[in-house]
Subunit: 217 residues, 2 copies
Amino acid sequence: MDEKWISKAVIKRLPRYYRYLGELLEDGVERISSGELSDRMKVTASQIRQDLNNFGGFGQQGYGYNVRHLYDEIGKILGLDRIHNMIIIGAGNLGQALANYTSFERSGFKTVALFDIDPAIKGKSIRGIEIHMTDELPEFIKANNVEIAALTLPKAEAVAMADVLVHNGVKAIWNFAHTDLNLKLPQDVVVENVHLAESLMRLSYNLTTRESDRKNK
Amino acid sequence: MDEKWISKAVIKRLPRYYRYLGELLEDGVERISSGELSDRMKVTASQIRQDLNNFGGFGQQGYGYNVRHLYDEIGKILGLDRIHNMIIIGAGNLGQALANYTSFERSGFKTVALFDIDPAIKGKSIRGIEIHMTDELPEFIKANNVEIAALTLPKAEAVAMADVLVHNGVKAIWNFAHTDLNLKLPQDVVVENVHLAESLMRLSYNLTTRESDRKNK
């Protein structure tokens, strides 16, 4: 199967399928029809069949989908079938919160270190993960096969730090700074932006629209 | 202008326009052409003109857009022209990180309290914002005109808490729990999900795809 033939829209939906299938596995469900999955996910059954057909159509008439098989296949496509070493830059509240998510590790994202510039927290640990100083970054990245860096720095510092990370071999940046880092780095660096302020604005838009709807009724 | 005529795709892009316009204002830029904005945002100039025409077409031939005017208009559409009182449920690392974002406040989202169940942190403050116990929630929500609750609880507790919040008058939930809360609440409650694990999986997918691209070259 050539992964390139899967559309971006489908890829965007894959993590959600993966999550629901994981919950089914936890509940001991071995197989599920597109209709039942449709009820749970509030996506039409035909959309589900169309999406999942992209991966070779594992569904069988009268049987449905084998949950474990589908979960594993989607996991492979998402690259979750192997360990990705990750570091967190910035050991403030957000960095510590990310280090505390044990669920990331279960999906193969292993946080191997946090980095900060505050000497007062040097050598301390979050859930057994040590806080290093940023001047140790180049050596650490090379010695520990680090692929991903989560960047929890203010905007003003994020761009310079991203350059350092990429220069030392980090291939992917999970960016929490309020700037489009992807526009500022080489094209072959993978950037996933998490813009919390924009998420809050979408919420505000929906809240405002609902209220004016109510008033107009 | 009837806001309902603006497409969802445009709405999704509005917070990003708002961010870039805010940066221009900070830099003292008073007007900008669609071409210049296109260079900065890496969106085609025709897309920009098309998007911004939805708000009455403020651009003028040979002059461009008045940055302040456009910023204010988009802010109004997003509901940022007034204060929204917000509470944060869960005063762990993530809750504290959210309380520390001063930029939310500048956009009109005012965090008025954090809530937790741990009596050891009762009465403590994050950036002057007090931590209350969750049994004070009903009274607090009513007395403080709380519109938005940021929910930073584990999945298992999030659904029950969301019910309590909605029952007591919260109209919008900013959900960080790893579950689709919108499917579990009344339709008139606004829910914005932030699924960090899914964001990390999209990053992993792009990383995996890039690597197989490289190998195939």
